[in-house]
């Protein structure tokens, strides 16, 4: 209970930091923070493995990549994170509207019966079994996806045209 609200508040705060901070680097760091908190809440939801992956893949890989690029392009802090132009405010309003809508959407769902999960729920074995038995095709597809991504990244980032 307390844990959740603690995590939730922090998460929102850091998420806001991501989109509000002038300096991309701080945004990136805030992102790490957010992702970590999400991992925590994964744990709270009995998804240990995913939580671990979350930390490794995201915090470990993706955000590093971000920081790397930021450095590479030595993007310096903007004067102010964003100016609330007419478009900006409209965007904000829309985002809020969407939030409300999504919120309503989930509220309408009948409250979940939270019973204690069976033993091994979220365990590596179970996940692995689902992954390879039930979701074999998607799994293989992800491999293709990664291949394409690699090739693409290479093509795009290659120095000589």
């Amino acid at each position: 209970m307390i844990a959740f609200y603690f995590v939730a508040l922090l998460m929102i705060a850091s998420a806001l930091t991501v989109i509000l901070h002038r300096n991309p680097i701080y945004s990136a760091l805030a992102l790490v923070n957010t992702l970590f908190l999400i991992a925590v809440s994964f744990v709270l939801l009995d998804a240990e493995l995913i939580a671990m992956l979350q930390v490794i893949v995201y915090a470990g890989a993706i955000v590093i990549l971000f920081l790397f690029v930021i450095m590479l392009l030595n993007v310096e802090a903007e004067k102010h994170a964003f100016r609330l132009s007419r478009a900006g405010t409209a965007g904000l309003a829309l985002a809020l509207l969407l939030a409300v809508e999504l919120g309503v959407l989930v509220v309408v769902w009948e409250p979940a019966r939270v019973e204690t999960p069976p033993a091994g729920f979220g365990s590596t074995e179970l996940l692995a079994e689902h992954l390879f038995a039930r979701s074999f095709l998607p799994f293989e597809l992800t491999s293709v996806l990664l291949l394409v991504a690699v090739v693409g990244a290479v093509v795009m980032a290659r120095r000589k045209a």
Partner: protein, 101 residues
């Protein structure tokens, strides 16, 4: 722990919205991409929560895929940013409007 699932769902929704706001507000494409990542993670949170609610692993499996996709996208995206930057020395969304009308 007596927190009902929908608390998580609402949290996720909020994060998702925040991500959206980021996409709309920030002018630095890198930060925009970060915001997108926020959105994806919000969805992840939703999946995990739902999985927990239904006590089915599928949700978590999906999160696995989503992560992969996110990683792939970031990789390609950042590569594209590099290319853009090498062309016009900026990654500011406002300045990238050669094509219009």
């Amino acid at each position: 722990m007596g927190v009902s699932i929908e608390h998580y769902l609402i949290l996720a929704a909020l994060i998702f919205a925040i991500g959206c706001a980021g996409v709309l507000l920030r002018r630095n494409v890198i930060v925009i991409l970060m915001s997108v990542e926020l959105m994806l993670n919000a969805v992840n949170l939703t999946f995990v929560a739902l999985a927990r609610q239904q006590l089915s692993m599928d949700g978590q499996v999906i999160v696995f895929f989503v992560m992969t996709v996110a990683a792939a996208e970031v990789a390609v995206g950042l590569a594209i940013f590099l290319a853009i930057y090498s062309q016009r020395r900026t990654v500011n969304a406002d300045d990238i409007n050669l094509l219009r009308w």
